[in-house]
Each structure stands twice: as structure tokens, then as C-alpha cells.
Symmetry: C2
Subunit: 488 residues, 2 copies
């Protein structure tokens, strides 16, 4: 906490890095691009996990665990899939180390594997090789399996939470008897993702479909939730893929229908990752540091006792008993900071860590039966009686949750603009924000725009209205309404 946090406007990227560091969320590991998720950051992930795990279980999904290692030949079975992941694989080739005869340790060449193994970048191939064994008849369908796991993608340019060589995620992999059922699952999950983002992370998102150029390697259709970060750039926060029969074909997974025919199985896959923590920081953070939505905050209320003598300390301590008992009985996650640091240091520290609500109690507050409350989402302090405080805290947490969402929504909406021609599009992209506009549906147009503006089509929003639009680039009638933006 020695150096001051830079202002966001003076360098958003350096601000981000320092918030991650100073709030104690994560650290780089010794291997380039790897991440250590520190306890405070990991508690955010645990809270997200608990919420989403409940959502998918309530909708009939179950968890399982599939192996980390994928035989090279499996990954290669689906052409687009291998194309998409070939350049970023961690490849296991040997299984033993030995002494070099001197003081060093070398890889034992005799332990070379017959077939190299790929550390999963995603698990479609290994899972479908198992579904091949598990699926015979329509009675075996649907399979609605999810796994919480680590995956590895050998990225060159990395940033904590946003892009790291290894990250944590959930990956759902479902198998269905019909095309319609797979499509419904893809969209149902997309709605769960939207609910997770908006109702828990307080991040407004646009649901949409990716263009061919941006879709998942091996999918028929990729749906996504896209959010606007505090620097007006877009972040893809979750994806849900309709895989069609691509993986069923690659692994020859057929089932016997009710009327005794053989059909290929239909598939979906979907995932959200620790990237969501990056999205929370980038959406809600301010010049004082992190701001956490109460529903996923490891600490919802921090209590700062203020005292100058042992006598005052015990006075404050006693005064706090009732409020702490009450908050704990409500299941509110609280933390009391009795360290030797100064109150000023403590205020800054817990603001940096994004705790939604701070209570301050000193001898004078005890005397007046008062408590001082400071909300992380707005400036200023509240002075309430002890009794009112106890009653009001759940309500305040709720207000903070909603207000963070409203602030983010207002920010996104005020930075989203219609662009009716290429100059307007370029202006929006230059100034930052989302440009909604018509697109002729051609990959070549998409590429030309990207080359000139560095912006990509984030998605075709599900609520698109392309009817009276013209393509922002070619001026021909638009096939789709799309959102262009620079992205993480």
C-alpha cells in the first residue's frame, strides 16, 4: 500500500494492474503468464461458483470430472477445433526426470510417451470420447454435465484474470436427442449467464450471437454475454455454444431413437471463467480501488473501531457486541479490523479492497449511541443510531448492489451510440464505446472495418432490429444490426 493508485484516466491498464495487486486479489506465478489467485480474490471466485453452481443444479445439471490430459489425436479429430487451439497448447511428452550424473536434473529421454498429451484447453474432445461409451439409446439422453476445472491456453500477452496461461472455469457439456433441444439448452444457459452477471455481479450485459469470424472453434453458433468496462472497451464475459453434431461426428456418437433408427447426437458447451473477476474490477473499480457488489463480496461489512487507549478500546468493543451478533445472525459477512494501523490507513485499505459498507465506531459514537456508515458506492457518510443501523444494513447492502448495477448501466448506455455511416463508426470507436450499426453480413466487410478501426463485431444482439438499417461500411441494406467495439 506504499505507492498511490494511479487515476483511471491517467492509465487504465496500470490502474488495473495495481488494483489487482494492492487489493490482494492475485499475483503472477513463476512461469510466464500463470496466475496465483490469492485468498481474497479466490473468495470472490468461490462466491461466484456457489451462485452459479446452484443455478445449474436447479436446472437439472450435474457435476463430474474428466481428465486433464487429452491425447493429441483426439484434439485433432475436429478440424476447426484443432485449428483454433494448435498454437496455444501445453504438450506433455515425457514422464520421468533423472540426474544428469553431475548436480543437475534432466528429462529422462527413455520416458518419452508414445503419443503426446495436450493439457486441456477445453474438454469437448475428451468428454465426447466418453459420451461415445455412455450413449446408446434415447434413454441415455439428455446428458447435462458440468465440470469446474483448470484449463491451459498458452497465451503470449497475458493479464491477470483477463488472459492467463492457466485459468479456472466451469465448462458445461450437454448431449441431446434433437437439434431443437440443443438450441434451447444453449439459450437457457445464456439466460443463466445474463442473470449471474446482472443480478449478482451487477454487470449489465448484452446477449447476442457471434459472427463466423468470432465463434468458438468447432461450434455451429456461439452466443455470448458482452459487457462494457470502465474504459469503454468490451469484454466477453461468457459464451454458450451450439455445437450441432460436429463433435458427435468426430467421435461417432450415435443413439438409437424411439423408433429404432440411428441418429447422431446434438451437443452444446458453455463456460464462464475467473475472467469474471477481471470484469468486476474493470466495471466497478474507481480511483480508490475495487468496488465489490455485496452479493459476491468476501466481506460485506467492515468494522473499524477507533480508540486511543485501552479503556476506549474495551468501551468500543463492548458497544460492538450487539451489532456484530445481529449481523452474524443475519448471515452477513463481516470483518472487524483490530490491527494497529491508523484509522486512515484502514479506511484506504478497505476501500481499495472494495468492501461495500464500512462502519466506524469511536468513543464519541458510543457516548451518543451512534454509528458512522460509509458506503463504497457513493461519497459521504451516514450517521445513524445503533438500533437503526442494525435494522438498515441488509437494506443498505441491497441498495449498494442495485446502485452498482445502475451506475454501470448508465455508463454503458451513455457510451453506446448508433452509427449510420463509417465516419460515425470511426468517431465512436475513437472516443470509446459501443457502436450499434448495420452490417451487410459479409466477412470481408467485418475484416476491413477491423483493420481500420481495431474494433470487432462483439455480437449480433438478440434484440437486433436490422430492418431499416444500411451497412455502416458499404451502405447496402444491412443483414444484421451489430455492436462494434474494441475489446479485451
Amino acid at each position: 500500500m506504499s505507492k498511490k493508485l494511479p487515476k483511471r484516466e491517467d492509465g487504465f491498464s496500470s490502474w488495473y494492474t495495481q488494483v489487482v495487486n494492492k487489493a490482494g486479489l492475485a499475483d503472477y506465478g513463476p512461469v510466464k503468464g500463470t496466475m496465483v489467485i490469492k485468498p481474497y480474490g479466490f473468495q470472490i471466485w468461490e462466491n461466484i461458483k456457489e451462485i452459479f453452481d446452484k443455478m445449474i443444479k436447479e436446472t437439472g445439471h450435474v457435476n463430474a470430472y474428466f481428465p486433464l490430459f487429452i491425447p493429441k489425436s483426439f484434439l485433432a479429430r475436429e478440424a476447426e477445433h484443432i485449428e483454433g487451439f494448435a498454437k496455444e497448447c501445453a504438450i506433455v511428452t515425457h514422464t520421468k526426470l533423472k540426474s544428469d550424473g553431475d548436480n543437475g536434473i534432466i528429462v529422462d529421454p527413455d520416458s518419452k510417451l508414445e503419443e503426446e498429451l495436450i493439457v486441456r484447453p477445453t474438454s469437448e474432445t475428451i468428454i465426447w470420447s466418453m459420451y461415445k461409451k455412455w450413449i446408446q439409446s434415447y434413454r441415455d439422453l439428455p446428458i447435462l454435465i458440468n465440470q469446474w476445472a483448470n484449463v491451459v491456453r498458452w497465451e503470449m500477452r497475458t493479464r491477470l484474470f483477463l488472459r492467463t496461461s492457466e485459468f479456472l472455469w466451469q465448462e458445461g457439456h450437454t448431449a441431446h436427442a434433437t437439434k431443437e433441444e440443443a438450441q434451447k439448452e444453449t439459450l437457457d444457459i445464456l439466460e443463466l449467464y445474463k442473470s449471474l452477471a446482472e443480478n449478482y455481479l451487477a454487470i449489465p450485459v448484452i446477449t447476442g450471437i457471434k459472427t463466423e469470424a468470432e465463434k468458438f472453434a468447432g461450434a455451429e453458433r456461439t452466443y455470448c454475454i458482452e459487457a462494457m468496462m470502465g474504459d469503454k472497451k468490451a469484454l466477453q464475459a461468457g459464451t454458450s455454444h451450439n455445437l450441432g453434431q460436429n463433435f458427435a461426428k468426430a467421435f461417432d456418437v450415435k443413439y438409437q431413437t424411439k423408433d429404432n433408427k440411428e441418429e447422431l447426437v446434438w451437443a452444446t458447451s458453455w463456460g464462464v471463467s475467473t475472467r469474471l473477476i477481471g470484469a468486476i474490477i474493470l466495471t466497478h473499480g474507481d480511483d480508490k480501488g475495487l468496488r465489490l457488489p455485496p452479493k459476491i463480496a468476501p466481506i460485506q461489512v467492515v468494522i473499524i473501531p477507533i480508540y486511543k487507549s485501552d479503556e476506549q478500546k474495551s468501551l468500543v468493543k463492548q458497544y460492538l457486541v450487539e451489532i456484530i451478533t445481529n449481523l452474524e445472525s443475519l448471515g452477513i459477512r463481516i470483518y472487524q479490523d483490530w490491527t494497529d494501523n491508523t484509522p486512515g490507513y484502514k479506511f484506504n485499505n478497505w476501500e481499495m479492497k472494495g468492501v461495500p459498507l464500512r462502519l466506524e465506531v469511536g468513543p464519541r459514537d458510543v457516548e451518543n449511541n451512534n454509528i458512522v456508515l460509509a458506503r463504497r458506492d457513493i461519497d459521504g457518510k451516514l450517521f445513524l443510531s445503533k438500533e437503526v443501523t442494525i435494522k438498515k444494513i441488509p437494506e443498505l447492502l441491497n441498495e449498494i448492489q442495485n446502485n452498482l448495477f445502475s451506475q454501470a448501466l448508465e455508463f454503458r448506455d451513455s457510451n453506446t451510440h448508433q452509427a449510420s455511416n463509417f465516419d460515425e463508426l470511426k468517431k465512436v470507436i475513437k472516443e470509446g464505446g459501443f457502436a450499434r450499426c448495420g452490417w451487410d453480413g459479409k466477412a470481408s466487410t467485418e475484416t476491413l472495418i477491423k483493420e481500420e478501426t481495431k474494433a470487432t463485431i462483439r455480437c449480433i444482439p438478440l434484440d437486433e432490429k436490422p430492418e431499416n438499417l444500411k451497412c455502416v461500411f458499404t451502405g447496402t441494406p444491412a443483414k444484421h444490426e451489430v455492436i462494434f467495439a474494441k475489446a479485451y
Copy 2:
């Protein structure tokens, strides 16, 4: 469910494999020795995880996540540690695949890593490389971190849950200012492991300390919980290590004491894994399959409706509403089997899957306001009124939990024998079971006994009474009382 389960006495090993398969717990993955944990097996793991996670959090521990990949040089820093793991490593050497110009995919030789990476077999080295950054002063101590993760040990002879190339576990890694504090932590965790095993998994365990020959590679002292399986062999179910200052030395982790001195930090590490699921199967399983302790059973009560017509079906369905509502409100995990299979098939299937309590309801039961109950831990059926059933189920689940523990305890105790000379020891080992006896404390004696009997010292029990014992092999005064057994 086509082939019948072999009796345990006709081949315990084949019985085990078939229970894992027929109960739907796990499957082998495509890479030799890897395991797919199927949803039913994974739910057991989730229940165990939830229980133990709560235990460690209540004792002040927090979760975090450290990277999967360990630089080769890190693993090599602690001499015993590398010695212990060198022969069973998965080694990552490259990061890209490419086309071979024909139709194949090959490893791109240009993507060779400068330093090879080891897929973590355990995380001491990578964690202590981070602790080096995080620990400066006594104020930074203790660090009480745990992680839930996958680890890889390239095993040649594998068996599902018991020994697989990849498995899931928790690994605690703590850092302390004093030797005493580290020792206390090691033993506190051992007690938590004992409580997890006995009070939740219903597996009686002996707490003890490993001999030098059996201790963890890099530890000063390894404590363990040892259990007796249904074939009278021992299974190490969890270990807690006092690492002394070994890893602090290897990674040069020092802290400034209150009086401004520099000291090396003291460490512990401890883990339990998906092996516990193997322990549950091997401890409680019988000739009908799995038997699960209610506290960790994915389904605690299975309900089998019995009917021959649609009219009977709706009669039974209606009759069940009250009982289901009641059980759900009590938080009891229930499952209703309305599939088209015969009642007989269903009984066998849910017995195989180890569900603690089965309710059967047919039209005659409806007429008589009755329910038929079958406990998985004892033979016979109970016939109770609907009202009594509702009231009695939580109590019955409790009884089943306790009875499974009692049965296992009785089995272990009746197969544990004192051996006062080598002939007696050999007899115990030959007939199966634990032999408690004196040992002179010499590694050579331990080796000679192992060579002749295939039994190892499972542990020096914490409640040893070596005072009047003689070494079972040499006849000289015993240094320790130990437990010999064949082990998994």
C-alpha cells in the same frame, strides 16, 4: 447391470472394480491410468469437500489457487522432494502443434520451452516460491492456505480412486513463526482428518506417525490416518506433514522476528484426496454393492413407487406428496424412481448404488396407510405408518450412519492382533489384518520384515505403549509399538 457382482470373498479386487462400474462412480479415461469421475461419484466428492472445507474455514484457513505448472528447477531444490517425485512426473516440453504437411498433426519443434515444466505432483515448491514474496515479517505469519486442485503422478499400476495418474485433492500449506506452532498445526489437522473419516465417512481410523521409510519426500515428520478395508488390508486415508524448515531453506524464506532477528519459516502441508471415495467403497461395501454413510450419500432416501396401472400410479403418487414435502423441508436428499424398470431391478440398482434407506409404496400400503422401509446397513424390512415414517427417517439415517461406523470398527478390532514374535506376526499378515507389535526402531528390521511378509509399518500409533514390548523381529527392547499390515 447385466452381469452379477462377484462375492467379495471370491475376488475382492474384481468386486471393487465392478462396484465402481455398476454403481456409476467412475470410469477409466482414454489416457492410461486417468479417471473420469462420473456424476454419482462426483457428488460424493462434493459432499466430502463441503464438509471438510467448512472444517478448515472454521479453524481459520482460507482457500487460494496456485499454478499447475512447476519449473523443473523448483522441484529440484529440495533434494528428498525431487527424489520422491522424479519417476512419476508429467513433463511439459512444447507449446504448439502444427500440420505435418500431410494429414497429421505434430508437435512444433520450434515451440520447445527453455525450461521444462512439471505438472504439479504436489505444490510445496511453487507455493513456497510465492511465500518467499509474501513473507517478510512476523506480522505476515501464520499463513494458513489450502487449495482444492488436481495433481498428477505418473503411476504404472492404477486402480480407480485408489491410485490414478491424476486425482483431485485438497492440499494445505501453512507457514509459521515457530516450530511449536507448526507442530500444533500438523496435529490439529490430523484430528480434523480423523473427525472427517470417523464422523462423516463412518471409517474408523488410527492416527499415527510414519517411519522414516514411509514419510513424505521432504517432510520432517509425516502423520497419517490409517484405516482397515473390507479385505483386512490397510489404506492410508490422509497425511499431515511437519515440513520443518526444509522448504523455507530451499526457497530462502525468512522472516523478521519481533526482536528484529531473521529466522527461517516453519511449514506444514497436508492432504486428503478422491482416494477417500475408494476407502468408503472398500470399508462399507458388501456383496450387493456400495453402502454409503448418510452424511455423504448423494441420495439419502430413495423412494420406489410400486404400481401396475395408471390408476394405481396416481394413487401412489398422491399418497407420497406429504412424505416428500416433509423430507424435503428437512433438507433430506431424496430421489423418486418413476422409471419403467421393475421394482426388483430398482431394488438391486439402488442397493448397488448404496442408498442408505429405501421406501417402497404400493397400492396396499396406501390402503393401510403404511410405508415399507429397507435399511441398506441391515437385512429385513420395517413396516411403519406414514406418520411414524416421516418422524422416524432423520433418526433412522442417524442410526445407519452410526451402525456403519460400528460395523467397521468391530471388523477392524476383531482383525487387529497383538504379535509378540515373528511367527505370530507372519500368521496375522497371512490371515489378514493389523498386527500390533514392538519394533526396535531400525530401518533394517523394517526392511527385512517387509521383504518376508510384504507388510509395511503403517504407523507408530499416537497411543503407542512400547514400554514393556520387545521387537517382534529381533527380540531386543522395542523402541516403538507399531502396526504392520499389507496395504493399498
